[in-house]
């Protein structure tokens, strides 16, 4: 294709209008040339001979009349071995290489190859001369970290081909020709180990897309048990700032049982990415024994980096995800935050002077969000293998109000909703996923009936608590009160999880099943309490024992011992309820044990994450009935209002 040229006739922020001659393509990449800088831009609108282009860099210093060179290609990424462990910006420029070349700052107009063209890979051919191939056929494999990286026939080649030549097993760089293929018209293509693919087109080389059913284990209890995510499914995490979206994503990226995790840090704080950047290489993946970084790709376009590249970054991430899915792997894409991406679209739309929709977001917001999440999926390939791409996006709604366009559009298309609540995070109940509002359409590995029962307890407990706020504890019946205590118990020992603890931070499915069953029995059991204080003391003790239990490795001997203690406590309560004397004795005994455990558990926490450990550090709360429900109740907006009320 002829390379078209143009000149700049208008500049408004990161949007330039360009008068061109010849033909251009929608979403074609062009370069605005100012001095020595070549600023990468993308065509977003064409009207007559004027193209509107968004510039992926700062436009400072551009002039009317500056030249623009069109590339003839859509915005693309390089796909090939060597992507894993890399840190890219939104346009797939490797950031570490940029840093090595240009130091502290992101120099304008620098475009680097995403892959290392010098590194050699050990290629093992999988086809021989004469074999029929087509786009996405496997030519061979190279080992990349712990995976066999499949080398495909480039996805953009259309039609049927035959292998004319293929190299022997050996070491090659990604640019070395490894095969030649030919179609029946005699057109030959020389293939190497990498190719490019436009980010905005989904990769759809599979036989069928299936309904996601198998759970993607995140090892976060409230997610896996109550609001599961399926392999190939989608989910979203909306929440106000400070509710723990990013921490939740980081935890998921560490513990999720996916083969490959792609983190798209889209328009968020640089500091958060840095933590991942610096820590992941140090952390060992328990499943592979290798560094976590070896299964991770980070796409990092933080809030101060140019907005247009932010818009591209989620597509870049999705394309890389689809590429690895094509190899039959389970890929998890975590996008943080999709609201920033939506805002980037809004900025762009505003500069294009499009008629705005709700809150000035463009009218196509909804369809774009849907298209993005639809790139997820569990797919079956021609060879009968399966691969999956799961997408989880955080949403940062303005003012923490879920009734805004991005949250609402997202909720329409995702399979699970993990809504974070400010109240829960203020009360340091992490993860702050609201157990009443959240939902999931996927199947949990725990029996549905049990979960429904547990959720019912949570709902009722919540109602009772609301009532207690009005009538006080005195006006609440003992039956209601024990439902409330049960719901609190479930919340404290199961829904809440200390993500910074090595044991409690990740709960295997086996353990979840085992422990949940135990919790369920407590919830289901009818206790016959005479007094509220007795009930509360009982549940306080039970909670303490349970939380300690959560900190013990399932393989430890202590695990069973602790379990026995818990059973004793429960049985004791059930059988000895009529003999007050005995009961008191039993209570003092377990109290002693309690204290010992508390000390132990605490020392563990205080090192790991004292803040999260509210529950453990709590003193014996005989006299403050409400404090366990809302320890940090006065959230920042409330106190003045409440005081007014008091007057």
């Amino acid at each position: 294709m002829n390379k078209t040229k143009g000149t700049i006739i208008g500049i408004n922020g990161n949007m330039i209008s360009v008068e061109f001659e010849g033909n251009i393509i929608q979403n074609e990449v062009g370069y605005a040339i100012t001095g020595d800088d070549r600023l990468k831009s993308e065509v977003v609108k064409i009207r007559g001979n004027i193209a509107y282009m968004q510039v992926f860099e700062i436009t400072k210093g551009l002039k009317i009349g500056d030249a623009v060179e069109f590339s003839g290609e859509m915005l693309s990424v390089q796909l090939g071995p060597g992507l894993l462990g890399m840190v890219y910006d939104g346009l797939q420029n490797p950031l570490n290489e940029l840093a090595a070349l240009h130091g502290f700052f992101l120099k304008r107009g620098v475009v680097l190859d995403a892959l290392d063209f010098k590194q050699k890979w050990e290629f093992t051919p999988a086809v021989k001369k004469g074999d029929p191939v087509r786009a996405a056929s496997v030519l061979g494999t190279v080992p990349e970290g712990i995976f066999d990286h499949k080398i495909f026939v480039p996805f953009h080649l259309q039609g049927e081909f035959k292998v004319v030549s293929i190299v022997e097993k050996g070491n090659y760089t990604v640019t070395d020709t490894i095969a030649t293929i030919e179609n029946d018209r005699g057109e030959k293509h020389e293939l190497c180990m990498y190719f490019e693919w436009p980010v905005k087109l989904p990769i759809e080389f599979y036989r069928e897309k299936h309904l996601p059913t198998e759970p993607l284990v995140t090892q976060t209890r409230i997610i896996d048990t109550f609001f599961p995510v399926a392999k190939g499914g989608t989910y979203c995490i909306p929440g106000p700032f400070g509710a723990g979206k990013t921490v939740l994503q980081q935890v998921t990226s560490r513990f999720a049982e996916a083969d490959i995790v792609i983190i798209a840090a889209c328009g968020e704080r640089a500091g958060e990415v840095v933590e991942t950047l610096r820590e992941f290489p140090e952390i060992t993946d328990p499943r592979t024994g290798k560094s976590l970084m070896e299964r991770t790709i980070i796409i990092c376009n933080t809030s101060s980096m140019p907005v247009a590249a932010r818009e591209a970054s989620v597509y870049t991430a999705a394309t890389l995800g689809e590429y690895y899915r094509q190899m039959g792997l389970d890929v998890l894409l975590l996008a943080d935050s999709t609201s920033r991406w939506a805002q980037a679209m809004r900025e762009l739309s505003g500069r294009l002077e499009e008629i705005p929709g709700e809150e000035a977001f463009p009218a196509y917001l909804e369809s774009r969000i849907a298209q993005f999440y639809e790139r997820a999926g569990l797919v079956e390939f021609e060879d009968g293998n399966f691969g999956s791409l799961t997408i989880g996006g955080t949403v940062s709604p303005a003012g923490g109000n879920f009734e805004e366009p991005v949250t609402q559009s997202t909720l329409k298309v995702v399979g699970a909703f993990h809504g974070l609540s400010r109240d829960r995070s203020n009360a340091r109940r992490y993860p702050a996923i609201d157990p009443l509002d959240s939902w999931s359409k996927y199947e949990s590995f725990i029996e549905n009936k049990q979960i429904e029962y547990a959720r019912d307890i949570l709902r009722k407990g919540h109602d009772v608590h609301q009532m207690m706020l009005v009538v006080g504890e005195e006006g609440t019946s003992i039956e209601d009160f024990s439902i409330y205590l049960k719901s609190e118990f479930l919340d404290n020992v199961y829904l809440q999880q200390n993500s910074f603890d090595s044991v409690d931070g990740a709960t295997s499915p086996e353990r979840q099943k085992y422990v949940f069953n135990f919790v369920y029995n407590v919830l289901f059991r009818k206790f016959d309490f005479k007094e509220k204080d007795t009930a509360r003391n009982f549940f306080n003790k039970l909670r303490q024992l349970f939380i300690d239990w959560n900190y013990i490795d399932m393989k430890d001997e202590e695990f069973k011992q602790q379990e026995a203690k818990i059973s004793d406590l429960i049985e004791g309560e059930a059988t000895e309820k009529n003999s007050t004397e005995k009961k008191e004795k039993a209570e003092t005994e377990s109290e002693n044990k309690d204290e010992k455990k508390m000390e132990k558990g605490e020392s563990k926490n205080a090192v790991e994450a004292p803040e999260k450990m509210q529950e453990k550090a709590k003193p014996d709360e005989k006299n403050s009935p409400e404090n366990e429900e809302k320890p940090n109740r006065p959230d920042q907006r409330k106190p003045p209002e409440e005081k007014k009320g008091e007057e």
Binding site: I11, F105, A270, A617, D620, S624, Q636
Partner: protein
């Protein structure tokens, strides 16, 4: 070559258009208005029509005023001579000193490569317990102070400027009231900190557009100093004014507003400034503290809301105190394990108890019966507010931690606080420990205990603390009557200040030599 144009096509708000060629985006121009010269910046180019925002405002602009393009974007001088100087929003000295024009650097430069950032690791001590103990400020952090108009946020900033352990301070005032500007100047002068400070001041009476440049000027200079190895603290007040200036320009430019009139790129605009906070691996650092006033005390207002998503936590300033619950330093975990063993325990423990106090307070207001435990909490809450939350309190982190233990010991027995035994053994004030354990106290006797504790503690504090402890606990005796407590809580807050005023100086004297 400089080009001069003298045909102004349109004047809308503070934006003018001229017909010109060869102009580059964000280039500066100088306009000669009858009342003087003003700078203007190119904000839009459409063929040969150039839109400029005029820093001095468009009042009095004549259609034949001269527009001269300078051929460069906004720049600011950079040298050590800037220390102690005061500039306006165009980077021109406003302190009658000589003008500085050497070594001009561009403002609003490219952002730092995330791969070159490091995990923050150093704490900035401010001697304000609510910051040092509960939400430590960390080098390279960006933190807003969310506040309502009328709160003493500028006083807080000034105090931080005086006391923070940094090499230099850059203060950016956007829409600052003139008396507040003088306050900053005088306070820093008296405190001897002016010589390590640079001011960029845009006052409320200056044209609004000029305020837009202030954050960029401050941060560009700060970044340069940081690259030269300095640890710089940038204080900005008030970023809501900055956002309002953005809004004004956006509306003038007929951009589609997104939320309450603010432009759709508010988030990106704010982020571009805040993200300048950085810790360079082998050089200095930039830390940003910015006041954001919340119109109508509404944190969901677009400015504080967007800010909250960008910054690494926030301080809520309310009723003259840093509110312990909403306030959060996201980076504190990186540093508060390296200070003292009991730092995290005190941080969590005291806040949890204070949260319980708040609930008890609520219950009391609703007329519920007060148990012994409730009474203890009430006493504790008052002490906590006086000794920790009061902004006048000016003590080092270690002193604050000690004071925390003393306060706890006055109110509770060790097992009531739920602290780890080893910490209790190490830090629980000994004399009080025995006292408290002997007699499980009715509230009257607690006061005696309290006084005894004080005797143990630093003599300088004693008198003030005695007053404080007695007052609230008397109140405790009479349940109900929440109004009274509140009214009086204003009182004791102020009393200690008299006795503590001496302290800051003493502190500083102690500290300075160490550093140099």
């Amino acid at each position: 070559m400089q080009k001069v144009y003298n045909k102004i096509l349109s004047v809308t708000g503070n934006v003018i258009t001229v017909k010109a060629e060869g102009v580059s985006y964000e280039e500066l121009a100088e306009i000669s208005i009858s009342r003087g010269k003003s700078l203007a910046q190119v904000i839009k180019l459409d063929r040969d029509i150039v839109s400029l925002q005029v820093f001095a405002g468009s009042q009095g602009i004549s259609t034949n005023d001269e527009v001269r393009f300078l051929g460069n974007p906004m720049r600011v001088t950079f040298s050590d001579d800037m220390l102690g100087r005061i500039f306006n929003g165009s980077g021109i000295p406003r302190d009658k000193g000589p003008s500085l024009s050497e070594n001009m650097i561009e403002i609003a430069g490219p952002s730092v490569n995330p791969a070159k950032r490091i995990i923050p690791r150093n704490m900035i001590r401010t001697n304000i317990p609510m910051i040092d103990v509960f939400n430590s400020l960390v080098v390279s952090q960006k933190l807003p102070i969310f506040s309502v108009s009328g709160e003493p946020y500028n006083e807080l900033l000034a105090r931080i400027a005086l006391q923070a352990e940094v090499d230099m301070i850059i203060l950016g005032g956007i829409g600052l009231k003139y008396d507040q500007y003088m306050y900053f100047k005088n306070t820093l002068e008296e405190g001897g900190a002016l010589s390590r400070s640079i001011f960029f001041i845009h006052t409320a009476s200056d044209p609004i557009v000029e305020g837009l440049m202030v954050p960029d000027l401050c941060l560009a200079v700060a970044e340069k100093f940081a690259l030269n190895g300095k640890n710089v603290l940038v204080l900005l007040t008030d970023m809501t004014n900055f956002a309002d200036a953005l809004k004004e320009i956006a509306i003038t430019m007929e951009q589609v507003p997104s939320n309450r009139g603010y432009p759709g790129d508010l988030y990106s605009q704010l982020a571009a400034r805040y993200e300048k906070a950085v810790d360079f691996d082998d050089a200095g650092s930039v830390t940003v503290l910015a006041v954001t006033t919340m119109p109508g005390d509404d944190v969901t207002h677009p400015v504080p809301d967007n800010t909250g998503y960008i910054t690494e936590g926030q301080f809520y300033l309310r009723n003259g105190r840093i509110e312990p619950f909403g306030s959060l330093s996201r980076l504190k975990q990186q540093v508060n394990d390296k200070t003292r063993d009991d730092h995290r325990a005190i941080m969590d423990g005291m806040i949890q108890l204070y949260a319980q106090y708040n609930e008890t307070e609520e219950k009391r207001a609703m007329g519920f019966r007060m148990s012994d435990w409730d009474k203890k909490l009430l006493k504790y809450g008052k002490l906590f507010e006086d000794r920790m939350m009061n902004l006048k309190v000016n003590i080092s982190l270690e002193e604050a931690l000690d004071r925390g233990w003393e306060t706890l010991a006055e109110c509770f027995t060790p097992d009531e606080t739920g602290f780890r035994t080893e910490l209790v053994k190490k830090f629980w004030p000994k004399s009080v420990q025995n006292e408290v354990e002997k007699k499980d106290q009715p509230s009257g006797e607690t006061d005696k205990d309290a006084k005894e504790t004080d005797a143990v503690s630093e003599s300088e504090e004693t008198s003030a603390d005695k007053k404080n402890t007695t007052e609230p606990s008397e109140e405790d005796a009479e349940t109900g009557q929440i109004k009274e407590t509140e009214a009086e809580s204003g009182e004791p807050v102020k009393k200690p200040s008299a006795s503590k005023k001496k302290k800051p100086k003493k502190e500083k004297r102690g500290k300075r030599p160490k550093k140099s």
